[in-house]
């Protein structure tokens, strides 16, 4: 198997899995219970949260643990105080942002043809009703890195202008950084974000665990009510093994950021050299583990099934989009034609790969593309 879809899911790191195991059975106690063994679990949990928080330059108390990035993104939108038309979000956001933003009457911000935010479009759309701007740090289909610091600057200027004019509406920056931790050293203060989404499943941690960083001056509303865990924002007995695994995965990612960048850059170079007859879609400002190839005139879904037969797993855009049978809104937003979208494949490199696999993958993809080209030609 050559797995080239690490942006969809990552296998749990051995160290993370081992760290999690005792908390399923031996030390299973409810962190809220009064006796000492339970208190120990509570303190391990807090320590794990601190590890995750420190990785982004935050404190444990700034994090709300959730059941994944979708919930974290939804929770971030509870910061809005007015009911309608107070949200801006990037046209290329994941559905977990788009859908909740639509519910809040949000407005899309355009991207340029390279997938980078159109800052002038953003600027023109920040009126005095806008309370929240949501822009992912790394796009999940293209791997494009957004210039968040510039957005944060614009937000700061806008806030100053609002204060001068006596406008009291808050203005917050939320960013989904689910795809970022493997290759980026993240600091919430450097990014200038008020809310930041993290996802264990994309960094070799367990699925179903995520976190929302919440700056101390942001007020959220709970999505669920109950025992008041996670500062009252996310009731329910803590997912102790999940968070322990998340922390171990984050720690590992943090330590390997530089090594990963070098490794994936090298592999990307090999792929781009050895593959044939493609057009590279994400040319600039992207993380090196994301490679989006367009084979115009071919049907990428057919390529996926043919590659699957050869033991190579790739995807077209987001996995969630595929299962809904809709074309990628991300590729559409960067101005690709329907036929270009239909011919686009996403490769996302990761820990499971080796250099040998990269050479093999290039060869197999070339063969499959060739056979499909011949089939298309035969059919006129």
């Amino acid at each position: 198997m050559i797995y080239l879809d690490h942006a969809a899911a990552t296998p749990v790191l051995k160290e993370a899995l081992e760290a999690m195991m005792p908390y399923f059975s031996d030390v299973f106690f409810n962190p809220s219970a009064a006796y000492l063994p339970a208190k120990k679990v509570a303190s391990d949990y807090e320590a794990a949260k601190a590890t995750i928080a420190h990785a982004i330059g935050a404190k444990a108390s700034d994090l709300v643990i959730t059941a994944g990035a979708t919930e974290a993104n939804n929770l971030a939108f509870t910061a809005i105080q007015a009911n309608a038309e107070s949200v801006l979000y990037l046209a290329t956001e994941h559905d977990s942002v788009r859908r909740i933003a639509e519910q809040c009457g949000g407005t899309e911000v355009k991207v340029l043809s390279n997938g980078i935010i159109d800052l002038s479009d953003l600027k023109s759309k920040i009126n005095d009703q806008i309370e929240l701007i949501s822009i992912s740090l790394v796009n999940n289909e293209l791997g494009v890195l957004q210039p968040l610091a510039e957005v944060a600057n614009l937000i700061r200027e806008t806030k100053i202008d609002r204060m001068k004019r006596g406008v009291k509406t808050q203005l917050l920056l939320h960013s989904d950084a689910s795809q970022a931790l493997n290759l980026l050293d993240i600091s919430v203060s450097r990014l200038g974000v008020d809310l930041l989404t993290l996802n264990a499943a994309k960094v070799y941690g367990p699925k179903g665990v995520g976190a929302l960083y919440v700056s101390h001056d942001v007020r959220l509303k709970p999505l669920t009510y109950g025992g008041g865990q996670e500062n009252g924002l996310r009731s329910g007995t803590e997912n102790v093994p999940g968070v322990i695994g998340f922390a171990a995965a984050v720690k590992h990612a943090k330590e390997h950021v530089n090594g990963n960048r070098k490794k994936y850059a090298g592999w990307k170079k090999i792929l781009l050299q050895e593959l044939k007859d493609y057009e590279l879609i994400n040319k600039k400002h992207t993380l090196d583990n994301f490679i989006v190839l367009c084979y115009n005139g071919l049907d990428a879904e057919r390529l996926i099934f043919l590659l699957e037969d050869r033991g190579v797993y790739v995807s077209t855009g987001a996995a969630c989009a595929t299962s809904k049978g809709v074309r990628s809104h991300v590729l559409k937003a960067i101005g690709l034609s329907d036929s270009e979208i239909a011919g686009s494949l996403r490769i996302s490199l990761g820990r499971t790969n080796t250099e040998e696999q990269i050479h093999d993958a290039a060869r197999i993809i070339n063969e499959v593309v060739q056979s499909e080209k011949e089939r298309v030609k035969r059919n006129g």
Partner: protein, 411 residues
């Protein structure tokens, strides 16, 4: 299977992602047809609590097509399906009937719009994964099939009236109940590649050829209703209208229902009866025996012998007789099965023509229900013994041995 008579002929095969249509496509490829797989997109809407699996089904169908190395297309009939099938179904329910949308889907979509479009695209045949067979009465000479348009391909004798629809070899899976209303023209150009083999064999073929969906759960009944019941689907479209449930013998009110149209004669589940009346909890179930849709009253009875439940005559409307002259199966005509092989003497060659004067027939009142002996005069079925009353709006399908003679809608 052997090489087909129509080697190289152009076939559009409806592929649903299930094992039956996948194996059908595979057999056609192996028999040397020029095959294009088509996913018919008829319904894609999610309803509250009901996830429509169309995208997964489409992906499954496409994966098989790619594996077989054939072209694959999606044909969108969603608007037509809504008009011709869903609205028909809702109208019928509102009239108090219990319609069968699958029969309408075959008549209006699969063997009409799909067939027409395939014909436009130069098809010699369409194919589906139905368990059914056709009897082609006269074949054009072999080797002269390629590139010929459908109108030249009618495999029937000039003097005969229609191609013949036959029950599948697998009695347990026979789907002719759903096909009795499809047009002669479509049937004459339809292949049922698995009609001549049994389901376990179909599964085995899928496994042997590595078609991943050999183990896929079979979809039953109306595709878009999925795992939830018809009643839940209807509630999305038809407003709840509470009314009384009465005991037919006493007229006593035993409980309340959400609208008479949601209930079917013979139904015993889902009745919300008031247990305090002291008449309910003696262990015997109540059956719906009568619906008064005008006054919105559902009548129930514990008496399984209630006259309303049993009939020996059944009047049909919208009758379709597939063939009125069965003497076409004369000795000069060699039967050739277009799906599978003609194995034994299972075909009962009728020695009579179906006349409109009480001809003996076999009747099927539900998919997979046993065949009941009766006579039919072109409008009414007369049963030898009393049978449990089927719901109006359902279909009664008539057979003579293996041959599907046609049928009608229960009035």
């Amino acid at each position: 299977m052997g090489k087909s008579f129509f080697h190289g002929a152009k076939v559009f095969v409806g592929m649903s992602g299930g094992v039956d249509s996948s194996v059908s496509a595979m057999l056609l490829v192996e028999q040397g047809y020029d095959v294009t797989g088509v996913y018919m997109k008829n319904w894609s809407k999610d309803l509250p609590g009901m996830k429509c699996p169309w995208a997964e089904d489409l992906a499954d169908a496409k994966r098989v097509a790619v594996k077989l190395g054939i072209n694959f297309e999606v044909w969108d009939f969603e608007e037509e399906y809504r008009q011709k099938v869903v609205e028909y179904m809702l109208d019928e329910f509102k009239k108090g009937n219990t319609p069968n949308p699958d029969i309408m889907c075959n008549q209006e979509i699969k063997f009409k719009l799909f067939f027409e479009k395939a014909k436009e695209r130069g098809a010699d045949f369409i194919a589906t994964g139905h368990y059914a067979r056709t009897l082609a009465l006269e074949m054009p000479p072999s080797g002269h099939t390629q590139g010929r348009s459908a109108k030249h391909m009618v495999p029937r004798r000039a003097s005969s009236s229609a191609p013949v629809l036959l029950r599948a070899v697998d009695d347990n899976k026979d789907q002719t109940y759903f096909l009795y209303r499809i047009s002669e023209e479509a049937l004459a150009h339809t292949l049922f590649p698995i009609g001549g083999i049994k389901k376990p064999e179909v599964k085995k073929l899928a496994e042997e050829r590595g078609l991943h969906n050999a183990y896929k759960k079979e979809s039953m009944g109306v595709c878009f209703v999925g795992d939830v019941g018809m009643k839940d689907f209807l509630k999305e479209y038809i407003e709840i209208n509470p009314g009384e449930i009465r005991e037919i013998e006493s007229e006593r009110v035993l409980g309340y229902h959400e609208g008479a149209i949601f209930y079917t004669i013979g139904q015993r589940h889902g009745l919300c009866l008031d247990g305090e009346k002291g008449v309910v909890n003696d262990g015997l179930p109540y059956y719906v025996v009568k619906k008064d849709t005008k006054n919105n009253i559902v009548y129930v009875s514990k008496n399984l012998n209630d006259d309303n439940l049993w009939i020996n005559e059944l009047e049909l409307k919208d009758v379709i007789l597939r063939t009125s002259d069965l003497s076409i199966l004369g000795p000069t005509c060699q039967p050739v099965f277009t799906g599978g092989s003609f194995t034994d003497g299972e075909l009962r060659r009728p020695g009579h023509a179906l006349e409109l004067d009480k001809s003996p027939v076999l009747v099927r009142l539900r998919h997979r229900a046993p065949l009941i002996p009766a006579t039919f005069d072109g409008k009414t079925i007369y049963f030898d013994n009393k049978i449990k009353r089927p719901a109006s709006g359902q279909s009664a399908v008539l057979y003579d041995g293996e041959i599907c003679l046609g049928g009608g809608i229960i009035a």
